[in-house]
């Protein structure tokens, strides 16, 4: 091996077809690979988030099952409005992505901005829900049920802040007219992440509603 970048590195007949997933069969380094990697990265991130919520959930049930000091936390009605707002924002994201696919850039901007604003309204609504619970005498340390309520809603809110930052980034790019094809991956990734936060929220509502 006298020289490093001899042509035998790059030449050679096409490799035999292999059962495979992901790379190893395409051109690495191109946009396609980057998009695939971004999607994989997103899935991995979602897996980590699922594990985080799964760990909290298992603690939730263990803690609930082992003591008699569990007092169900009454769900403030505003949470139902918040749920509707979050679902509406996910819908807006989907409409925006469809609009972009049909090349309607103005419609995209409108829907995407709507989704971002709805996301911020959801966070504001969550804050109101926390204040209402505080007014009713429920704090983080009041009893295990309220501890888990605040813990899980705050964890979700922190995730949502990340989601809003992603939506905001796209928003700024759209307003600066920098939304080239290269940004499609970013749009899809933040869109999927946003839907995931939706799903987590519905899961949390079910958890609170049925098991308090």
């Amino acid at each position: 091996m006298a020289s490093s970048l001899t042509t035998d590195i790059v030449h050679g007949p096409p490799p035999p077809p292999t059962r495979n997933f992901g790379g190893g069969d395409g051109e690495p380094g191109g946009r396609g690979a980057h998009r695939r990697a971004s999607m994989t990265g997103l899935l991995v991130l979602l897996a980590a988030s699922v594990m985080l919520f799964a760990a909290f959930t298992s603690a939730f049930f263990v803690r609930r099952g082992m003591s008699n000091d569990w007092v169900d936390t009454p769900l403030p009605n505003i949470l139902w409005i918040n749920t509707a707002v979050l679902l509406a924002s996910s819908l807006a994201i989907e409409l925006a992505r469809r609009a972009l696919r049909s090349g309607k850039r103005t419609a995209f901007d409108r829907y995407w901005t709507g989704a971002t604003i709805l996301g911020v309204i959801f966070l504001g609504g969550q804050y109101l829900a926390w204040r209402q619970l505080n007014a009713a005498g429920f704090y983080l340390a009041t009893n295990p049920s309220s501890s888990f309520f605040f813990l899980l809603t705050c964890t979700h809110a922190v995730h949502l802040l990340g989601g809003i930052s992603a939506l905001g980034y796209i928003e700024v790019q759209a307003l600066l007219l920098r939304l080239g094809p290269g940004k499609r991956t970013a749009i899809d990734v933040s869109g999927y992440f946003w839907h995931f936060l939706d799903a987590i929220w519905i899961y949390l509502m079910a958890l609170f509603f049925f098991w308090g």
Partner: protein, 584 residues
Amino acid sequence: MSSPVVHPAHHAPTGFIRRYIFSLDHKVIGIQYYFLAVFSVFLGMALSVLMRFHMVYPDAKVSLFEKLWPTGAPGGIMTPELYLSLMTMHGTIMVFFVLTTAPQSGFGNYFLPIQIGAEDMAFPVLNMLSFWTTFLALIVMVAAFFVPGGAPLAGWTAYPPLSAVGPLSGPGEGLGQTLWIISIAIFCGASLMGAINFIATTIDLRARGLSMMRMPLTCWSWFVTAILGLLGFAVLLAAGVLLLLDRLAGTSFFLPAGLLVSDQILNHKGGSPLLWQHLFWFFGHPEVYIAILPGMGVASQLLATFSRKPIFGYRAMVYAILSIGFLGFFVWGHHMFMSGMNPYSAFAFSILTMSIGVPSAIKTFNWIGTLWGGRIQFTTAMLFALGFVSLFVTGGISGIFLGQPALDLYFHDTYFVVGHFHMIMGVAAIFGMFAGTFYWFPKVTGKFMNETLGKIHFYLTFIGVYCIFTPMHFLGIAGNPRRYADFTNFDFMGKLMPVHTFMTHSAIFTMVVQFIFLFNLFWSIKKGKPAPINPWNATTLEWTIPSPPPFDNFAGKHPVVNHGPYEYSVPGAAKDYIMQSDPA
């Protein structure tokens, strides 16, 4: 493929800060991780020697101790609390900042992209953030030494109630323990970022022709380790948040009612300390494999290269790595046999634990099969790989004892466990790092490390670690409890003290020997013998590019892989090895 696809080469950043400090280059980040681990391992080693010193000479007055810890060592005599804080910090620094950092984030960052023919990791910015977050976690952890009350006492496992009730339970349990939890939470975030990069890179950035089943076993082990880290650290983060809330916000996740600490009844009620143990060990057991799997990958790579033989049973090795990783998530209960667990649960955890012996034995037999009939070259790197196999077997066999509830009840709180996990998780993984260092040093620097110094270092270290940790098993069988600061007040311990003295002297000897390695490392960077591009006649892609590799690894070209990773001594081939990128 009529002509090579040449993309415009990346240009290396020119400023010092972008190039060496906040670098996006996976190679620089890998080296940063490596030296973070080197710093941490010497710190952790110093702590362990202080512990061993105290155990044997508990009444020694050392003025240095008083200078370092005015309250922890008044008059130069270590308090038991100081001993416990040294133990906690030794374990934490070694497990998180050495065993999790160097084999995976250090070597993996440097060589995963090169071995799969990529220019860089999938997300370079995330990669940089991951390193600097780890660095921040280390700063916060070390800061625990310097806050009022000092470092925490609750061990690297931080069991509540001790870790959850605050300064009432000991001097280090105030701010020190809080910093510990915060540092671990930061570390979890860093590990998640790293895992995202490793998994996306492995799946999506492999070169043309490099199918999963053509990946070197090092890449497989980094890939599976990343999955373990991803799933494990998320759960540890959750547990850490709960513990922090118990400490700071008055919740009762882990703290039961009526807890009496230092004559005060605490307000908490209804929590369960066992809940922490379940969450912690759900992370903690996979963590053991996070530490050891990359070492297994390196050992496989080196045994094949230096035996000039294909790895015995490549597919079996891959499936063994996957099944070790998978089973690792179902055995956490074997750390909790002592917790009053239902014997039927203990039985199930025990059976699952034993079943990990199967893939582990497959790996061991395949390593031996690889060596069998090979033309073995005893380079320093190979010696450390063989040392790894030796330590893995020695440490693994004692695991079969501990995996049985009936025996574990006796052994659990004795030195048997200390001997077991140091052999398999600590020293074996460190040998994997030494092996990797000697093997890849020529690629990273373009120079060889000194083989004579390397061999002296290997033999002395190998003898030293066996002298430290083998006697621990006998002490454990004799009933020597662990986590005690001082054994001199127990009659039954009298006859065992000479063994402790021997272990302490061995530990000091082994520590001194490590400076040979440190000297060799830095001396060779400056004055090592120049190395050719492929000094070991190895087959994987990193040996096709110059040493040190250029900024974008393959200078804008995309390698094509036509061969498996271990084609040594192929009958009829011109040389005794075929590189992965050689024409088919």
